[in-house]
Symmetry: C2
Subunit: 308 residues, 2 copies
Protein backbone atom coordinates (compact mmCIF):
# COMPACT_ATOMS: atom_id res chain seq x y z
CA UNK A 1 0.00 0.00 0.00
CA UNK A 2 1.23 3.38 -0.98
CA UNK A 3 -0.22 6.86 -1.33
CA UNK A 4 0.80 8.69 -4.48
CA UNK A 5 -0.06 12.38 -4.55
CA UNK A 6 -0.90 13.50 -8.07
CA UNK A 7 -2.26 16.97 -7.36
CA UNK A 8 -1.72 18.89 -4.13
CA UNK A 9 -2.80 22.43 -5.00
CA UNK A 10 -5.99 24.27 -4.25
CA UNK A 11 -8.57 25.88 -6.53
CA UNK A 12 -6.56 26.44 -9.71
CA UNK A 13 -3.53 24.68 -11.12
CA UNK A 14 -0.17 26.36 -10.76
CA UNK A 15 3.18 25.45 -12.25
CA UNK A 16 4.15 23.81 -8.96
CA UNK A 17 0.96 22.04 -7.92
CA UNK A 18 -1.85 20.57 -9.94
CA UNK A 19 -5.41 20.46 -8.63
CA UNK A 20 -6.50 17.58 -6.41
CA UNK A 21 -5.91 13.90 -7.02
CA UNK A 22 -4.47 11.18 -4.83
CA UNK A 23 -3.86 7.55 -5.76
CA UNK A 24 -3.92 4.72 -3.27
CA UNK A 25 -1.81 1.99 -4.83
CA UNK A 26 -2.67 -1.51 -3.62
CA UNK A 27 -0.78 -3.54 -6.18
CA UNK A 28 0.39 -6.27 -3.83
CA UNK A 29 -2.84 -6.42 -1.89
CA UNK A 30 -5.31 -6.45 -4.81
CA UNK A 31 -3.55 -5.49 -8.05
CA UNK A 32 -5.49 -2.29 -8.15
CA UNK A 33 -5.36 1.43 -7.63
CA UNK A 34 -7.99 3.61 -6.04
CA UNK A 35 -8.17 7.28 -6.86
CA UNK A 36 -9.38 10.08 -4.57
CA UNK A 37 -10.57 13.14 -6.49
CA UNK A 38 -9.70 13.79 -10.08
CA UNK A 39 -8.98 17.42 -10.89
CA UNK A 40 -8.27 18.51 -14.44
CA UNK A 41 -5.07 17.08 -15.88
CA UNK A 42 -4.95 14.13 -13.49
CA UNK A 43 -4.50 11.84 -16.49
CA UNK A 44 -1.59 14.02 -17.59
CA UNK A 45 0.02 13.67 -14.17
CA UNK A 46 -0.52 9.92 -14.35
CA UNK A 47 1.37 9.85 -17.70
CA UNK A 48 4.48 10.77 -15.71
CA UNK A 49 4.08 7.91 -13.21
CA UNK A 50 3.92 4.14 -13.30
CA UNK A 51 0.21 4.19 -12.46
CA UNK A 52 -1.83 2.45 -15.12
CA UNK A 53 -5.25 3.97 -15.73
CA UNK A 54 -6.75 0.56 -16.51
CA UNK A 55 -5.77 -0.59 -13.01
CA UNK A 56 -7.91 2.15 -11.47
CA UNK A 57 -10.74 0.18 -9.95
CA UNK A 58 -12.50 2.81 -7.88
CA UNK A 59 -12.61 6.58 -7.80
CA UNK A 60 -13.82 8.42 -4.72
CA UNK A 61 -14.84 12.03 -5.18
CA UNK A 62 -14.89 14.12 -2.01
CA UNK A 63 -16.92 16.99 -3.46
CA UNK A 64 -17.94 18.44 -6.77
CA UNK A 65 -15.85 21.60 -6.98
CA UNK A 66 -14.18 21.83 -10.37
CA UNK A 67 -10.67 21.39 -9.01
CA UNK A 68 -11.74 17.94 -7.78
CA UNK A 69 -13.75 16.60 -10.73
CA UNK A 70 -12.87 18.28 -14.04
CA UNK A 71 -10.36 15.54 -14.88
CA UNK A 72 -12.88 12.72 -14.60
CA UNK A 73 -14.34 12.55 -18.14
CA UNK A 74 -10.87 12.63 -19.68
CA UNK A 75 -9.48 9.97 -17.37
CA UNK A 76 -12.45 7.70 -17.99
CA UNK A 77 -11.98 8.09 -21.74
CA UNK A 78 -8.25 7.47 -21.66
CA UNK A 79 -8.76 4.44 -19.45
CA UNK A 80 -10.46 2.80 -22.43
CA UNK A 81 -7.84 3.97 -24.94
CA UNK A 82 -5.32 2.21 -22.74
CA UNK A 83 -7.12 -1.09 -22.87
CA UNK A 84 -9.22 -0.88 -19.72
CA UNK A 85 -12.00 -3.45 -19.86
CA UNK A 86 -12.54 -4.14 -16.17
CA UNK A 87 -15.36 -2.35 -14.35
CA UNK A 88 -14.82 1.01 -12.72
CA UNK A 89 -16.92 2.44 -9.90
CA UNK A 90 -17.09 6.09 -8.92
CA UNK A 91 -18.39 7.23 -5.54
CA UNK A 92 -19.27 10.80 -4.69
CA UNK A 93 -21.91 13.36 -3.74
CA UNK A 94 -25.24 13.82 -5.44
CA UNK A 95 -24.81 15.50 -8.82
CA UNK A 96 -21.77 13.43 -9.77
CA UNK A 97 -23.75 11.15 -12.02
CA UNK A 98 -25.37 13.98 -13.97
CA UNK A 99 -21.97 15.57 -14.49
CA UNK A 100 -20.17 12.46 -15.72
CA UNK A 101 -23.04 11.12 -17.81
CA UNK A 102 -23.58 14.49 -19.52
CA UNK A 103 -19.89 14.94 -20.35
CA UNK A 104 -19.63 11.44 -21.81
CA UNK A 105 -22.89 11.65 -23.73
CA UNK A 106 -22.34 15.09 -25.23
CA UNK A 107 -18.83 14.12 -26.35
CA UNK A 108 -20.10 10.92 -27.93
CA UNK A 109 -17.93 8.80 -25.64
CA UNK A 110 -18.84 5.14 -25.29
CA UNK A 111 -16.78 3.31 -22.71
CA UNK A 112 -15.92 -0.32 -23.45
CA UNK A 113 -16.02 -1.16 -19.73
CA UNK A 114 -18.87 -1.10 -17.17
CA UNK A 115 -18.98 2.19 -15.30
CA UNK A 116 -21.02 2.50 -12.15
CA UNK A 117 -21.58 5.83 -10.44
CA UNK A 118 -22.76 5.69 -6.84
CA UNK A 119 -23.95 8.83 -5.13
CA UNK A 120 -23.19 8.39 -1.46
CA UNK A 121 -24.57 9.47 1.87
CA UNK A 122 -22.84 9.14 5.22
CA UNK A 123 -22.00 5.60 6.29
CA UNK A 124 -20.47 2.44 4.92
CA UNK A 125 -20.32 2.74 1.15
CA UNK A 126 -18.22 -0.27 0.26
CA UNK A 127 -17.12 -3.52 1.83
CA UNK A 128 -15.35 -6.64 0.66
CA UNK A 129 -13.23 -9.37 2.24
CA UNK A 130 -10.31 -7.12 2.85
CA UNK A 131 -11.53 -3.54 3.07
CA UNK A 132 -14.34 -1.38 4.32
CA UNK A 133 -14.91 2.18 3.18
CA UNK A 134 -16.95 4.66 5.14
CA UNK A 135 -17.87 8.20 4.17
CA UNK A 136 -18.10 10.96 6.73
CA UNK A 137 -19.67 14.35 6.18
CA UNK A 138 -17.45 17.42 6.26
CA UNK A 139 -18.27 21.12 6.28
CA UNK A 140 -17.57 22.91 3.02
CA UNK A 141 -19.32 25.32 0.65
CA UNK A 142 -21.08 22.35 -0.89
CA UNK A 143 -21.54 18.74 0.21
CA UNK A 144 -18.10 17.31 0.97
CA UNK A 145 -17.04 13.92 2.27
CA UNK A 146 -14.07 12.28 3.86
CA UNK A 147 -13.38 8.63 3.15
CA UNK A 148 -12.14 6.21 5.77
CA UNK A 149 -10.53 3.12 4.33
CA UNK A 150 -10.35 0.43 6.96
CA UNK A 151 -8.35 -2.66 6.16
CA UNK A 152 -9.72 -5.68 7.97
CA UNK A 153 -7.55 -7.37 10.56
CA UNK A 154 -5.48 -10.18 9.10
CA UNK A 155 -5.02 -13.55 10.92
CA UNK A 156 -1.48 -13.97 12.25
CA UNK A 157 1.16 -16.26 10.80
CA UNK A 158 1.25 -20.00 11.56
CA UNK A 159 3.94 -20.92 14.08
CA UNK A 160 5.79 -23.83 12.40
CA UNK A 161 7.95 -24.52 15.47
CA UNK A 162 4.89 -25.11 17.58
CA UNK A 163 3.22 -27.24 14.89
CA UNK A 164 6.31 -29.44 14.55
CA UNK A 165 6.54 -29.76 18.34
CA UNK A 166 2.98 -31.13 18.26
CA UNK A 167 4.08 -33.65 15.63
CA UNK A 168 2.30 -31.99 12.72
CA UNK A 169 4.52 -32.05 9.61
CA UNK A 170 4.39 -29.37 6.91
CA UNK A 171 1.92 -30.01 4.07
CA UNK A 172 -1.49 -29.00 2.81
CA UNK A 173 -2.77 -29.46 6.38
CA UNK A 174 -1.03 -26.19 7.36
CA UNK A 175 -3.25 -24.19 5.01
CA UNK A 176 -6.31 -25.93 6.46
CA UNK A 177 -5.24 -25.14 9.99
CA UNK A 178 -4.75 -21.50 9.10
CA UNK A 179 -8.13 -21.15 7.46
CA UNK A 180 -10.31 -22.85 10.08
CA UNK A 181 -10.89 -22.23 13.73
CA UNK A 182 -10.58 -25.95 14.51
CA UNK A 183 -9.13 -28.74 12.39
CA UNK A 184 -9.34 -32.49 12.71
CA UNK A 185 -6.02 -34.19 11.97
CA UNK A 186 -5.65 -37.60 10.25
CA UNK A 187 -4.86 -39.16 13.64
CA UNK A 188 -8.22 -38.02 15.00
CA UNK A 189 -6.93 -35.18 17.12
CA UNK A 190 -8.85 -31.86 16.89
CA UNK A 191 -6.64 -28.82 17.27
CA UNK A 192 -7.51 -25.15 17.77
CA UNK A 193 -6.01 -22.60 15.38
CA UNK A 194 -5.42 -20.12 18.20
CA UNK A 195 -2.83 -22.46 19.71
CA UNK A 196 -0.70 -22.48 16.58
CA UNK A 197 -0.93 -18.97 15.24
CA UNK A 198 0.74 -15.66 16.08
CA UNK A 199 -1.18 -12.50 17.01
CA UNK A 200 -3.45 -11.14 14.27
CA UNK A 201 -2.28 -8.07 12.36
CA UNK A 202 -4.30 -4.96 12.86
CA UNK A 203 -5.62 -3.65 9.56
CA UNK A 204 -4.50 -0.23 8.41
CA UNK A 205 -6.85 2.74 8.68
CA UNK A 206 -6.53 5.59 6.23
CA UNK A 207 -8.60 8.73 6.33
CA UNK A 208 -8.64 10.89 3.20
CA UNK A 209 -10.63 14.05 3.69
CA UNK A 210 -12.03 16.50 1.18
CA UNK A 211 -12.09 20.26 1.62
CA UNK A 212 -13.50 21.22 5.00
CA UNK A 213 -13.61 23.67 7.82
CA UNK A 214 -12.01 22.49 11.05
CA UNK A 215 -14.36 19.93 12.55
CA UNK A 216 -13.40 18.76 16.03
CA UNK A 217 -16.29 16.33 15.98
CA UNK A 218 -14.47 14.21 13.40
CA UNK A 219 -11.90 13.06 15.95
CA UNK A 220 -13.97 10.02 16.91
CA UNK A 221 -14.30 8.76 13.35
CA UNK A 222 -10.63 9.36 12.69
CA UNK A 223 -9.50 7.72 15.92
CA UNK A 224 -6.12 6.01 15.63
CA UNK A 225 -5.95 6.45 11.88
CA UNK A 226 -2.60 5.25 10.58
CA UNK A 227 -2.68 8.07 8.09
CA UNK A 228 -4.81 11.16 7.99
CA UNK A 229 -4.74 13.22 4.79
CA UNK A 230 -6.15 16.65 5.62
CA UNK A 231 -6.35 19.86 3.65
CA UNK A 232 -4.41 22.90 4.83
CA UNK A 233 -5.43 25.62 2.44
CA UNK A 234 -4.39 28.39 4.81
CA UNK A 235 -1.52 29.21 7.14
CA UNK A 236 -2.10 29.05 10.87
CA UNK A 237 -2.67 32.78 11.22
CA UNK A 238 -5.45 32.84 8.64
CA UNK A 239 -8.07 31.04 10.68
CA UNK A 240 -10.74 33.61 9.88
CA UNK A 241 -10.08 33.42 6.17
CA UNK A 242 -10.16 29.64 6.39
CA UNK A 243 -13.53 29.76 8.12
CA UNK A 244 -14.93 32.25 5.62
CA UNK A 245 -13.89 30.09 2.67
CA UNK A 246 -14.88 26.78 4.30
CA UNK A 247 -11.28 25.60 4.56
CA UNK A 248 -8.79 24.69 7.27
CA UNK A 249 -5.42 25.94 8.43
CA UNK A 250 -2.23 23.97 9.02
CA UNK A 251 -2.74 24.19 12.77
CA UNK A 252 -6.32 23.00 12.59
CA UNK A 253 -5.31 19.97 10.56
CA UNK A 254 -2.61 19.21 13.12
CA UNK A 255 -5.02 19.75 16.01
CA UNK A 256 -7.45 17.24 14.55
CA UNK A 257 -4.67 14.68 14.01
CA UNK A 258 -3.70 15.15 17.64
CA UNK A 259 -7.25 14.82 18.95
CA UNK A 260 -7.75 11.69 16.88
CA UNK A 261 -4.45 10.28 18.08
CA UNK A 262 -3.53 9.56 14.46
CA UNK A 263 -0.12 8.11 13.65
CA UNK A 264 0.70 10.27 10.68
CA UNK A 265 -0.69 13.48 9.23
CA UNK A 266 -0.21 14.48 5.60
CA UNK A 267 -1.31 17.99 4.73
CA UNK A 268 -2.24 18.81 1.16
CA UNK A 269 -4.50 21.16 -0.90
CA UNK A 270 -1.89 23.90 -0.51
CA UNK A 271 -2.69 27.33 -1.90
CA UNK A 272 -0.33 28.71 -4.54
CA UNK A 273 0.01 31.82 -2.40
CA UNK A 274 2.54 29.87 -0.34
CA UNK A 275 5.76 29.32 -2.25
CA UNK A 276 9.15 27.88 -1.26
CA UNK A 277 10.08 29.09 2.21
CA UNK A 278 6.47 29.91 3.02
CA UNK A 279 5.38 26.37 2.22
CA UNK A 280 8.05 25.08 4.61
CA UNK A 281 6.66 27.39 7.24
CA UNK A 282 3.27 25.69 6.81
CA UNK A 283 4.89 22.40 7.72
CA UNK A 284 6.66 23.88 10.75
CA UNK A 285 3.37 25.28 12.05
CA UNK A 286 1.66 21.93 11.81
CA UNK A 287 4.58 20.08 13.41
CA UNK A 288 4.47 22.35 16.45
CA UNK A 289 1.13 20.76 17.25
CA UNK A 290 1.49 17.35 15.64
CA UNK A 291 5.13 16.41 15.07
CA UNK A 292 4.50 13.48 12.76
CA UNK A 293 3.35 15.64 9.87
CA UNK A 294 4.51 15.81 6.28
CA UNK A 295 3.43 18.21 3.57
CA UNK A 296 2.54 16.63 0.24
CA UNK A 297 3.82 17.82 -3.10
CA UNK A 298 2.94 16.61 -6.58
CA UNK A 299 4.41 13.14 -7.17
CA UNK A 300 5.09 12.64 -3.47
CA UNK A 301 4.91 8.95 -2.57
CA UNK A 302 4.11 7.86 0.97
CA UNK A 303 4.34 4.16 1.81
CA UNK A 304 1.73 2.72 4.17
CA UNK A 305 3.54 -0.16 5.87
CA UNK A 306 1.56 -3.09 7.25
CA UNK A 307 1.02 -3.06 10.99
CA UNK A 308 3.06 -5.54 13.05
Amino acid sequence: MELFFLGTGSGVPSKERNVSALALQMLQERQSTWLFDCGESTQHQILRTNIRPRRIEKIFITHLHGDHIYGLPGLLSSRSFQGGETPCTIYGPKGLKEYVVTALRVSGTRLPYPLEIIEVAEGVIYEDEGLLVESIRLEHGLESFGYIIQEKDQPGELLPERLKAAGISPGPIYQKIKQNEATELSDGRVIQRDDFIGPSKRGRKLAILGDTRYLESLADDLKHADILVHEATFAGADEQLAYAYFHSTTRQAAQLAKLADAKQLIISHISSRYQGEEAEELLREAREIFPNTVIAHDFYEHPVPANK
Copy 2:
Protein backbone atom coordinates in the same frame (compact mmCIF):
# COMPACT_ATOMS: atom_id res chain seq x y z
CA MET B 1 -1.63 38.30 -35.44
CA GLU B 2 -0.07 35.06 -34.43
CA LEU B 3 -1.15 31.45 -34.11
CA PHE B 4 -0.03 29.74 -30.92
CA PHE B 5 -0.47 25.98 -30.87
CA LEU B 6 -1.27 24.76 -27.37
CA GLY B 7 -2.21 21.16 -28.11
CA THR B 8 -1.38 19.33 -31.32
CA GLY B 9 -2.09 15.69 -30.48
CA SER B 10 -5.04 13.50 -31.29
CA GLY B 11 -7.49 11.64 -29.09
CA VAL B 12 -5.52 11.29 -25.86
CA PRO B 13 -2.75 13.38 -24.37
CA SER B 14 0.79 12.08 -24.65
CA LYS B 15 3.98 13.34 -23.07
CA GLU B 16 4.86 15.08 -26.34
CA ARG B 17 1.52 16.47 -27.46
CA ASN B 18 -1.48 17.63 -25.52
CA VAL B 19 -5.00 17.35 -26.92
CA SER B 20 -6.34 20.10 -29.17
CA ALA B 21 -6.18 23.82 -28.55
CA LEU B 22 -4.98 26.69 -30.69
CA ALA B 23 -4.80 30.37 -29.76
CA LEU B 24 -5.11 33.18 -32.26
CA GLN B 25 -3.36 36.13 -30.65
CA MET B 26 -4.56 39.49 -31.88
CA LEU B 27 -2.97 41.71 -29.29
CA GLN B 28 -2.02 44.55 -31.61
CA GLU B 29 -5.21 44.36 -33.62
CA ARG B 30 -7.75 44.12 -30.78
CA GLN B 31 -6.00 43.36 -27.48
CA SER B 32 -7.55 39.96 -27.42
CA THR B 33 -7.02 36.27 -27.95
CA TRP B 34 -9.35 33.82 -29.60
CA LEU B 35 -9.14 30.15 -28.78
CA PHE B 36 -9.98 27.26 -31.09
CA ASP B 37 -10.87 24.08 -29.20
CA CYS B 38 -10.03 23.51 -25.58
CA GLY B 39 -8.94 19.98 -24.75
CA GLU B 40 -8.21 18.96 -21.17
CA SER B 41 -5.23 20.74 -19.67
CA THR B 42 -5.36 23.69 -22.06
CA GLN B 43 -5.24 26.01 -19.06
CA HIS B 44 -2.15 24.15 -17.87
CA GLN B 45 -0.48 24.69 -21.26
CA ILE B 46 -1.44 28.37 -21.08
CA LEU B 47 0.32 28.63 -17.71
CA ARG B 48 3.57 28.05 -19.59
CA THR B 49 2.94 30.87 -22.11
CA ASN B 50 2.36 34.60 -22.04
CA ILE B 51 -1.29 34.14 -22.96
CA ARG B 52 -3.58 35.65 -20.37
CA PRO B 53 -6.83 33.78 -19.83
CA ARG B 54 -8.71 36.99 -19.08
CA ARG B 55 -7.78 38.23 -22.56
CA ILE B 56 -9.56 35.28 -24.15
CA GLU B 57 -12.55 36.94 -25.74
CA LYS B 58 -13.96 34.13 -27.87
CA ILE B 59 -13.66 30.37 -27.95
CA PHE B 60 -14.57 28.42 -31.06
CA ILE B 61 -15.21 24.71 -30.61
CA THR B 62 -14.93 22.64 -33.78
CA HIS B 63 -16.69 19.56 -32.39
CA LEU B 64 -17.62 18.00 -29.08
CA HIS B 65 -15.20 15.08 -28.83
CA GLY B 66 -13.61 15.04 -25.41
CA ASP B 67 -10.13 15.86 -26.66
CA HIS B 68 -11.53 19.16 -27.92
CA ILE B 69 -13.77 20.29 -25.04
CA TYR B 70 -12.79 18.71 -21.70
CA GLY B 71 -10.62 21.70 -20.80
CA LEU B 72 -13.44 24.22 -21.15
CA PRO B 73 -14.98 24.22 -17.65
CA GLY B 74 -11.57 24.53 -16.01
CA LEU B 75 -10.41 27.32 -18.29
CA LEU B 76 -13.64 29.26 -17.75
CA SER B 77 -13.22 28.92 -13.97
CA SER B 78 -9.57 29.94 -13.99
CA ARG B 79 -10.37 32.91 -16.19
CA SER B 80 -12.31 34.34 -13.26
CA PHE B 81 -9.64 33.46 -10.69
CA GLN B 82 -7.26 35.49 -12.81
CA GLY B 83 -9.38 38.60 -12.74
CA GLY B 84 -11.38 38.16 -15.95
CA GLU B 85 -14.45 40.39 -15.87
CA THR B 86 -14.97 41.01 -19.57
CA PRO B 87 -17.53 38.93 -21.47
CA CYS B 88 -16.58 35.65 -23.08
CA THR B 89 -18.44 34.01 -25.95
CA ILE B 90 -18.18 30.37 -26.94
CA TYR B 91 -19.25 29.09 -30.35
CA GLY B 92 -19.72 25.45 -31.19
CA PRO B 93 -22.04 22.61 -32.20
CA LYS B 94 -25.34 21.78 -30.60
CA GLY B 95 -24.82 20.16 -27.19
CA LEU B 96 -22.05 22.55 -26.19
CA LYS B 97 -24.34 24.61 -24.00
CA GLU B 98 -25.66 21.63 -22.08
CA TYR B 99 -22.13 20.40 -21.47
CA VAL B 100 -20.73 23.68 -20.20
CA VAL B 101 -23.78 24.69 -18.20
CA THR B 102 -23.99 21.28 -16.49
CA ALA B 103 -20.31 21.24 -15.56
CA LEU B 104 -20.46 24.75 -14.11
CA ARG B 105 -23.73 24.19 -12.27
CA VAL B 106 -22.85 20.83 -10.75
CA SER B 107 -19.50 22.16 -9.54
CA GLY B 108 -21.14 25.21 -7.99
CA THR B 109 -19.16 27.55 -10.23
CA ARG B 110 -20.45 31.09 -10.62
CA LEU B 111 -18.54 33.14 -13.13
CA PRO B 112 -18.10 36.84 -12.38
CA TYR B 113 -18.20 37.68 -16.10
CA PRO B 114 -20.95 37.31 -18.73
CA LEU B 115 -20.66 34.02 -20.60
CA GLU B 116 -22.56 33.49 -23.81
CA ILE B 117 -22.73 30.13 -25.53
CA ILE B 118 -23.81 30.15 -29.16
CA GLU B 119 -24.61 26.89 -30.89
CA VAL B 120 -23.80 27.42 -34.53
CA ALA B 121 -24.96 26.17 -37.90
CA GLU B 122 -23.19 26.71 -41.19
CA GLY B 123 -22.73 30.32 -42.24
CA VAL B 124 -21.59 33.64 -40.84
CA ILE B 125 -21.50 33.36 -37.06
CA TYR B 126 -19.77 36.58 -36.13
CA GLU B 127 -18.98 39.93 -37.68
CA ASP B 128 -17.61 43.22 -36.46
CA GLU B 129 -15.78 46.16 -38.00
CA GLY B 130 -12.60 44.24 -38.55
CA LEU B 131 -13.42 40.54 -38.79
CA LEU B 132 -15.93 38.10 -40.12
CA VAL B 133 -16.14 34.50 -38.97
CA GLU B 134 -17.84 31.81 -40.98
CA SER B 135 -18.39 28.20 -40.03
CA ILE B 136 -18.25 25.42 -42.60
CA ARG B 137 -19.47 21.89 -42.08
CA LEU B 138 -16.91 19.06 -42.10
CA GLU B 139 -17.32 15.30 -42.13
CA HIS B 140 -16.52 13.60 -38.83
CA GLY B 141 -18.07 11.03 -36.50
CA LEU B 142 -20.17 13.78 -35.03
CA GLU B 143 -20.99 17.31 -36.15
CA SER B 144 -17.71 19.10 -36.83
CA PHE B 145 -16.98 22.60 -38.11
CA GLY B 146 -14.17 24.54 -39.61
CA TYR B 147 -13.92 28.25 -38.91
CA ILE B 148 -12.87 30.78 -41.50
CA ILE B 149 -11.66 34.04 -40.04
CA GLN B 150 -11.70 36.73 -42.66
CA GLU B 151 -10.09 40.02 -41.82
CA LYS B 152 -11.73 42.87 -43.68
CA ASP B 153 -9.70 44.76 -46.22
CA GLN B 154 -8.02 47.80 -44.76
CA PRO B 155 -7.91 51.14 -46.61
CA GLY B 156 -4.44 51.96 -47.88
CA GLU B 157 -2.13 54.61 -46.46
CA LEU B 158 -2.50 58.29 -47.31
CA LEU B 159 0.10 59.49 -49.83
CA PRO B 160 1.55 62.66 -48.19
CA GLU B 161 3.65 63.58 -51.27
CA ARG B 162 0.57 63.73 -53.40
CA LEU B 163 -1.40 65.70 -50.78
CA LYS B 164 1.38 68.25 -50.45
CA ALA B 165 1.61 68.52 -54.26
CA ALA B 166 -2.07 69.44 -54.23
CA GLY B 167 -1.32 72.13 -51.65
CA ILE B 168 -2.93 70.34 -48.71
CA SER B 169 -0.78 70.73 -45.57
CA PRO B 170 -0.60 68.09 -42.84
CA GLY B 171 -3.17 68.50 -40.04
CA PRO B 172 -6.48 67.05 -38.83
CA ILE B 173 -7.74 67.26 -42.38
CA TYR B 174 -5.59 64.23 -43.29
CA GLN B 175 -7.59 62.02 -40.94
CA LYS B 176 -10.82 63.32 -42.46
CA ILE B 177 -9.59 62.62 -45.97
CA LYS B 178 -8.66 59.08 -44.99
CA GLN B 179 -12.03 58.37 -43.38
CA ASN B 180 -14.35 59.74 -46.07
CA GLU B 181 -14.79 58.99 -49.71
CA ALA B 182 -14.92 62.70 -50.54
CA THR B 183 -13.88 65.69 -48.47
CA GLU B 184 -14.56 69.39 -48.88
CA LEU B 185 -11.49 71.52 -48.15
CA SER B 186 -11.58 74.94 -46.49
CA ASP B 187 -10.92 76.53 -49.88
CA GLY B 188 -14.10 74.97 -51.26
CA ARG B 189 -12.44 72.25 -53.31
CA VAL B 190 -13.92 68.75 -53.03
CA ILE B 191 -11.35 65.99 -53.31
CA GLN B 192 -11.74 62.22 -53.74
CA ARG B 193 -9.97 59.90 -51.28
CA ASP B 194 -9.03 57.49 -54.04
CA ASP B 195 -6.74 60.10 -55.55
CA PHE B 196 -4.67 60.44 -52.40
CA ILE B 197 -4.47 56.94 -50.98
CA GLY B 198 -2.39 53.87 -51.75
CA PRO B 199 -3.88 50.47 -52.62
CA SER B 200 -6.01 48.91 -49.90
CA LYS B 201 -4.52 46.06 -47.91
CA ARG B 202 -6.15 42.72 -48.42
CA GLY B 203 -7.41 41.29 -45.12
CA ARG B 204 -5.94 38.03 -43.94
CA LYS B 205 -7.93 34.82 -44.28
CA LEU B 206 -7.36 32.01 -41.81
CA ALA B 207 -9.07 28.65 -41.95
CA ILE B 208 -8.95 26.52 -38.83
CA LEU B 209 -10.57 23.16 -39.35
CA GLY B 210 -11.77 20.57 -36.89
CA ASP B 211 -11.41 16.83 -37.31
CA THR B 212 -12.59 15.73 -40.72
CA ARG B 213 -12.37 13.30 -43.55
CA TYR B 214 -10.84 14.62 -46.73
CA LEU B 215 -13.41 16.91 -48.31
CA GLU B 216 -12.50 18.17 -51.74
CA SER B 217 -15.65 20.28 -51.80
CA LEU B 218 -14.14 22.58 -49.17
CA ALA B 219 -11.64 24.01 -51.66
CA ASP B 220 -14.00 26.81 -52.67
CA ASP B 221 -14.56 28.02 -49.12
CA LEU B 222 -10.87 27.82 -48.37
CA LYS B 223 -9.85 29.58 -51.58
CA HIS B 224 -6.68 31.66 -51.21
CA ALA B 225 -6.55 31.24 -47.45
CA ASP B 226 -3.39 32.81 -46.07
CA ILE B 227 -3.22 29.99 -43.58
CA LEU B 228 -5.01 26.67 -43.52
CA VAL B 229 -4.79 24.64 -40.31
CA HIS B 230 -5.80 21.08 -41.18
CA GLU B 231 -5.70 17.87 -39.21
CA ALA B 232 -3.40 15.07 -40.34
CA THR B 233 -4.18 12.25 -37.96
CA PHE B 234 -2.78 9.61 -40.30
CA ALA B 235 0.22 9.10 -42.56
CA GLY B 236 -0.27 9.20 -46.29
CA ALA B 237 -0.43 5.44 -46.66
CA ASP B 238 -3.25 5.07 -44.15
CA GLU B 239 -5.99 6.57 -46.26
CA GLN B 240 -8.39 3.73 -45.54
CA LEU B 241 -7.86 3.99 -41.79
CA ALA B 242 -8.33 7.73 -42.01
CA TYR B 243 -11.61 7.25 -43.83
CA ALA B 244 -12.81 4.62 -41.35
CA TYR B 245 -12.08 6.88 -38.40
CA PHE B 246 -13.38 10.05 -40.06
CA HIS B 247 -9.94 11.62 -40.23
CA SER B 248 -7.49 12.79 -42.89
CA THR B 249 -3.97 11.92 -43.96
CA THR B 250 -1.01 14.23 -44.47
CA ARG B 251 -1.39 13.96 -48.23
CA GLN B 252 -5.09 14.75 -48.14
CA ALA B 253 -4.47 17.88 -46.08
CA ALA B 254 -1.82 18.93 -48.58
CA GLN B 255 -4.07 18.12 -51.54
CA LEU B 256 -6.79 20.36 -50.15
CA ALA B 257 -4.35 23.20 -49.52
CA LYS B 258 -3.22 22.84 -53.15
CA LEU B 259 -6.75 22.78 -54.55
CA ALA B 260 -7.65 25.84 -52.47
CA ASP B 261 -4.47 27.60 -53.59
CA ALA B 262 -3.73 28.42 -49.96
CA LYS B 263 -0.55 30.25 -49.07
CA GLN B 264 0.45 28.18 -46.07
CA LEU B 265 -0.63 24.83 -44.66
CA ILE B 266 -0.14 23.89 -41.02
CA ILE B 267 -0.86 20.27 -40.16
CA SER B 268 -1.79 19.34 -36.61
CA HIS B 269 -3.82 16.76 -34.62
CA ILE B 270 -0.92 14.32 -34.94
CA SER B 271 -1.37 10.83 -33.55
CA SER B 272 1.05 9.73 -30.85
CA ARG B 273 1.81 6.67 -33.00
CA TYR B 274 4.15 8.90 -35.00
CA GLN B 275 7.24 9.81 -33.00
CA GLY B 276 10.48 11.59 -33.92
CA GLU B 277 11.62 10.50 -37.37
CA GLU B 278 8.14 9.28 -38.23
CA ALA B 279 6.64 12.69 -37.49
CA GLU B 280 9.20 14.27 -39.81
CA GLU B 281 8.15 11.81 -42.47
CA LEU B 282 4.58 13.14 -42.14
CA LEU B 283 5.85 16.58 -42.99
CA ARG B 284 7.85 15.30 -45.98
CA GLU B 285 4.77 13.55 -47.35
CA ALA B 286 2.70 16.71 -47.17
CA ARG B 287 5.44 18.85 -48.70
CA GLU B 288 5.66 16.61 -51.73
CA ILE B 289 2.18 17.80 -52.62
CA PHE B 290 2.13 21.24 -51.02
CA PRO B 291 5.63 22.57 -50.36
CA ASN B 292 4.64 25.40 -48.08
CA THR B 293 3.64 23.12 -45.21
CA VAL B 294 4.73 23.09 -41.57
CA ILE B 295 3.85 20.57 -38.90
CA ALA B 296 2.70 22.04 -35.60
CA HIS B 297 4.02 21.00 -32.22
CA ASP B 298 2.92 22.09 -28.77
CA PHE B 299 3.99 25.71 -28.14
CA TYR B 300 4.70 26.30 -31.82
CA GLU B 301 4.14 29.94 -32.74
CA HIS B 302 3.32 30.93 -36.28
CA PRO B 303 3.17 34.62 -37.15
CA VAL B 304 0.49 35.77 -39.57
CA PRO B 305 2.00 38.83 -41.24
CA ALA B 306 -0.26 41.51 -42.68
CA ASN B 307 -0.68 41.44 -46.44
CA LYS B 308 1.11 44.10 -48.46
